[in-house]
Every structure is written in C-alpha cells, then in structure tokens.
Symmetry: C2
Subunit: 375 residues, 2 copies
C-alpha cells in the first residue's frame, strides 16, 4: 500500500490508528484544519502545528483558479509554498465547483464551469483533478466525484452515485502511485442504505488507500447522518482509514468516531474564529456579546491555548468590537486547539476502552452550557 | 528622576542610551510600534517582542472611547489587558481628537468633542488626560497639548504653542509620579525656530522626564523637519530622552537620529503591512504587483523575519490577491522587524562611532531600489 495504516486499538466501533505519509504520520481519529487557499485562515502554520494538528486540507477548486496548480508545482509544491511540512490532503474540486462556480454543466466527462473569481472557463475531469492534486504534491488525493445534493430522490441519488463510481474508476487509473502518497475513494448514495452499500462495493472492488463518506453534512441533520454511517462504516475495510468529509461540530465528530470514522475536516472552527464564536467544553460562546465586556476570566479555564492562557474574555470582546485582526487570530487558534483537544481525548479514551464515557461526559458538559458565564 | 536614562555613547549629535522603566528597559535610539486599540494590529505581542521591539505605544483617544480607561484599570491595566509585559508609552489624546473626533471645540480648559464611534460627547483636559494615562498604567505619559496644524502663520503657531505650554504646566501638576514611570513634555512652535526655542525654555523650566518634538511629520516635508530638529535638539537637556512623535520612514528616522533624537513611533510599518507594502534594504516593495507571482525569492534576502525565512514573494503575493489574513500578519511582522533592524544598526554604529557611514550606506541601498526584482 502507498499509505501505511495501523489499527492500534478498537473500542466498540471506535478505532485508534496511525496513518503514515511521506510528510509524517497522523494519529487517528484526526481532525484536519481547512487551509482552502494554501493558508489556514488567520493562522501561522507553526501555530496550527502547536494546536496538535498533524495534517491540513487544501481545496483543489480554489488552488487551481488561484494561484494555479502548475504555478505551485514550479514553486516546489504546496508544502513548501505554504510552509506546512506535514501531511496534506486535497479534495477533488468536485464539491466546490458545484457550490461556488458559475454556469456549471455536468456531463459524463466531467464538469465545465466559470471561475467565481474572474469568469474564466474551466473543465474539471477525474483525470485533470488527479493531475492537479499531483502537481500540488498532495499526500492524500481524493477521487473526483459528484456530491449528491440533499434532498434527492432514490433515482437522483442512484444516477449521481453511479456517475461518481465511474469517475472513481477513472480517478484510480489516472492517479500516479508513490510511496507515502495515496488515493481515497468516496462513498456516495445519499441517505439510502442500499445505494451506500452498492457504492462501498464498487469502491472496494476498485481498491483505494482509504475510504471517505461523502454527501453528508449537507442538511440531512445529525440523526440521519448517524443512520447513514451506521449503514456504511461496517461495510468498509477494517485495515484502511475512513474519512467523513466536511464534518462537523464536536458532537458530530464524537458520534462519528463512535461509528468507526477516523478522519474529519470542517471549516467550522476556523470560520467561527472569524465570527466571534468560541468552542468550549461548556458549549459555544459568542464573545461579541456585551456581557463579556468586563469579564476577566479566560474563555475556557481548562484550555491551554494562548487565548485562554494569556487573555481575558473582556479583551477578546474588545478586539471583536474594534474589528482588530488579532481577534480572528486568537479565536481561530483557540477553536482549532479545542478541536484537537477533543481528538486527543477521543484517542486516549479509545486506548483505555472508555470512549463511551468520554462521549457522555462531553455531551453532559455541552448540555450544561456556559453556566460559568451567567452572572 | 522617575525614569532613569543613561547616555552610553555619542557620535556627533547621535546618541546611544538606555531608558529604564518599571516594566523593563529600552535601548535607544528606539522605534515604538503603534498599538492604537491595545493591539499592534495583526501581531501577537510575542511576535512584536521577537522583532526586537522593547516598547509599544497606545492611543489615549481610542482607548478612552473603547473599551474605556477605567475598564482597562479594573482589568489590571493596559500591560495585562493586551498581554504586553514590557514598557508602554501613551499619547495624550490631543492629536487624535483633532484628527478623528467630530464637532471639536477648543477652549482654555481643553477640548470638547464627539466620539467618531458613537457620537457620544467627551471633554478632554490636561487633568483628564493624565488621569486616563494613569488608569492605563502607562510607563511614559505624554503631556496634553495641541498639535499646531501645518501650515500655520507665526501668530497662529505662537498662540497654539503658548496654549500647549499652559497645558504642560497643568499636565505636570496633575501627573502622579511613581518610580519607573515618567511624564514627557512636548515641544511645539511649528516651523519657527524662535517659537521652538521659547517652547523648549518653557518646558525645561517646568521639568520633565523626557522631551518630545511634536507638530512635525504633518506635511512640512523632510527637509523642513530636519531644519526644525537642527534648531531644537541642541537646546534640549542632554541627560533626558528625546522623542520625535509620529516619525516616520526609515530615512526620516536615520536623519533624526543624526540630529540627536532617541525615540520614534509611526504607523507606517504596521499600516503598510496591511496594504501590501514591504520595507526592505532596497526600498519599498509592493507585493500586490503581478511581477511577484512566480518569484521564489524571499522579500529581503538579508532579513531574519519569518516572512523572509519561510515564504516566497510569490506566496505573499498570492495571499494578498486572495485577501488572506496571513498577508497582513506576515507583512506587518516583516516591516516591524525591518524597522527594528534599522534601529539595531543605528545603535551598533553609534557605539562604534560609525553612524555617518551607516546612514550613507542605508541611503545608497535605498536609492538603488529593488534592483534584484527587475527581470
């Protein structure tokens, strides 16, 4: 295999593992901060690493349009370009073409679209997506797929899934294998267990270094998402990593780990860091709220990030009101740190066979809410 | 004296010194990054310190309006609030009331104005300015003055200067002396040497811990600014620090050091960091320019800041085009680092009696411009 994956322990369906890449290893369950345009927004890469993050995600759609994949290749690849020496996963571009680009048309060959930046016309196919991700020097390349919209009828979901499976074959054929680099297939099929099962069968027959579950966190809700996982993850190979794309809130991640998922990405901690939202052990806190203006306490007493060690809620509130750049800098750092703390907690709990208790404790704390803030 | 100042060496009129405050020492000539709203914009305080900066400036006008001086005092003072354990200088608020506030009226007592933030009405006097700066726990308090506009007739400049001198008396009376804290008077008098001389006499008679030269860098140009300095600094006490307010470009600073100035502040390195301008040994470089898009070289080969050690011009250009927060973060860091490098170079040159040669070399390099970038 191009990517070594070792399953170190299990606790129910939850898994503790280690994935090795040419740019370093990843302890799973892992959360990957999103570095859309070759930067985890408002963060120095050293700070991203300081949170405990071991891998970041780059977006093929954004990078192909600006600054261009071949330009990044000439400049030494994405790791060097963005000064992130660790592992990088790139998505295939398919999802964001459908959500961001203009005048999209899909046919069997791929997707034709206009750039949301300058209107320039582009054609993205499984072959071109593999070529771009290779040029970026991505450690984990994602197969090119269509993310089935929600809601979709069984017929729509089948048509879409079957197209993605044909594109998965072409992605595998176009991918250039190298040691320490790998290709993940993406399970589609909407909310329909039989379609998910067919998709898993198609992908495992092709053979991938890892398996992603796509088409979730698109509006179906946590309960239905967990139902789809319950119907999907038991079918996936035990010896390969599983990645739930675009998920999610801490409770989504914990629930998915309990259902056998190993890897996650989501813009939530970074985006929330730019909109005054702090994730804590006591739920989400909006630091723009005036009740924080005289509060000398840290955002989260139990957090070891710079925001919580060195600043008061009153100060962060002031920065937000003053629209100071340091506000998203500190709050993004905190949120990623918190997410990584959750992942560390999950890994330690799985190792000890206590993941259910860990999940319950986290849920209880979140449900209590921000009790320490009520005056 | 409340602030110990040691003159360690001189080289012509240029001075090497050390100023001690309750929060640490400052090697002079010193450049103070501006932290208007209790943050040096786009910088972590540790990063500010890593550039070599030993003191930062806070703006009384901004802080009195938001979050409020008494609030900062309740939260432990400005050092703790903004997590800057080193020395802090605050201006008096006078300059920014006149440039930012609405519906300003000046009378003998002080200035009445409306906040540019919410229209609320405020009255700022020498006594209130001292009270605010005390509440902030500022190490170096500036006397409350009126910055004489440019141009001004000799009569206007005299009237304004004489008002500032009466306010200087009241500032001194209202200031609460403490060990390691001090009060600076501000020389006014526009571009008129006789008025500057009268102002120096008035201030030295009152007696201050340091002397600032105000009312410059307001449109009079470098040549006239240097003429005013030539007529002013020889009159100032040798054993007290001199501070040229709001200056300036590196060449302004070097010229002023040659004329006996010890301290500087300016928004230029921080503001330029948010508008794609990088200060280098080869002049100012606009990284938004498309000619940088494929350039693998660092901004400045001889700079030790993170931007220059770890990133290409192409990457910074990409961040700027993509409006990524990391662009001002890195470019501000670089610019402050460059300014501190200039100050270190000046201090080393004064110690060796080579400050003229240092100044000439810097001017020659800047005049050559960005020759390394021309393709």
């Amino acid at each position: 295999m191009s990517l070594d994956f070792t399953l170190l322990a299990t606790d129910g369906a939850a898994r503790l593992g280690r994935l090795e890449t040419a740019h370093g290893g990843i302890d799973t369950p892992a959360f990957m901060p999103v570095g859309t345009a070759a930067t985890v927004k408002a963060m120095m890469p050293q700070s991203v690493a300081a949170t405990g993050a071991q891998i970041v995600l780059g977006n093929t759609y954004h990078l192909m349009l600006r600054p261009g994949a071949e330009r990044i290749a000439r400049l030494g690849g994405l790791h060097k370009f963005m000064n992130w020496p660790g592992p990088i996963l790139t998505d295939s571009g398919g999802f964001q073409v459908m959500s961001l680009a203009k005048l999209r048309t899909i046919d069997e060959s791929g997707v034709t679209f206009q750039s949301h930046l300058d209107g320039s016309k582009h054609h993205l196919t499984p072959e071109r997506s593999m070529e771009i991700q290779h040029a970026l020097d991505s450690n984990i390349t994602m197969a090119f797929d269509e993310c089935t919209p929600f809601p979709a009828t069984p017929e729509q979901a089948r048509t879409s899934m079957e197209l993605s499976m044909r594109w998965a074959v072409r992605s595998k054929q176009a991918f250039q294998p190298r040691d320490g680099y790998g290709l993940f297939g993406i399970v589609q099929g909407g909310v329909y267990p039989d379609l998910r099962q067919e998709s898993v069968q198609a992908l495992t027959q092709i053979g991938f270094d890892g398996y992603a579950v796509g088409g979730l966190a698109v509006g179906e809700g946590q309960e239905m998402m967990f139902q789809v996982l319950d119907a999907t993850t038991p079918l996936l190979p035990q010896n390969r990593p599983r990645y739930l794309m675009g998920v999610g809130r801490p409770s989504d991640i914990v629930g998915a780990v309990l259902r056998g998922i190993d890897m996650f990405d989501c813009v939530m901690p970074t985006r929330s860091g730019r909109t005054a939202q702090g994730f804590t052990r006591h739920g989400t806190i909006n630091l723009r709220n005036a009740r924080h203006q005289d509060d000398p306490r840290p955002l989260d007493e139990d957090c070891g990030c710079p925001l919580c060690r060195e600043y008061s809620r009153a100060y962060i509130h002031h920065l937000i009101r003053s629209e100071e750049i340091l506000a998203p800098m500190l709050l993004t750092w905190h949120n990623i740190h918190y997410y990584q703390d959750v992942m560390k907690g999950l890994r330690a709990a799985i190792a000890k066979g206590e993941v259910q208790a860990f999940a319950q404790n986290l849920a209880d704390l979140e449900q209590q809410g921000d009790i320490t803030s009520v005056k």
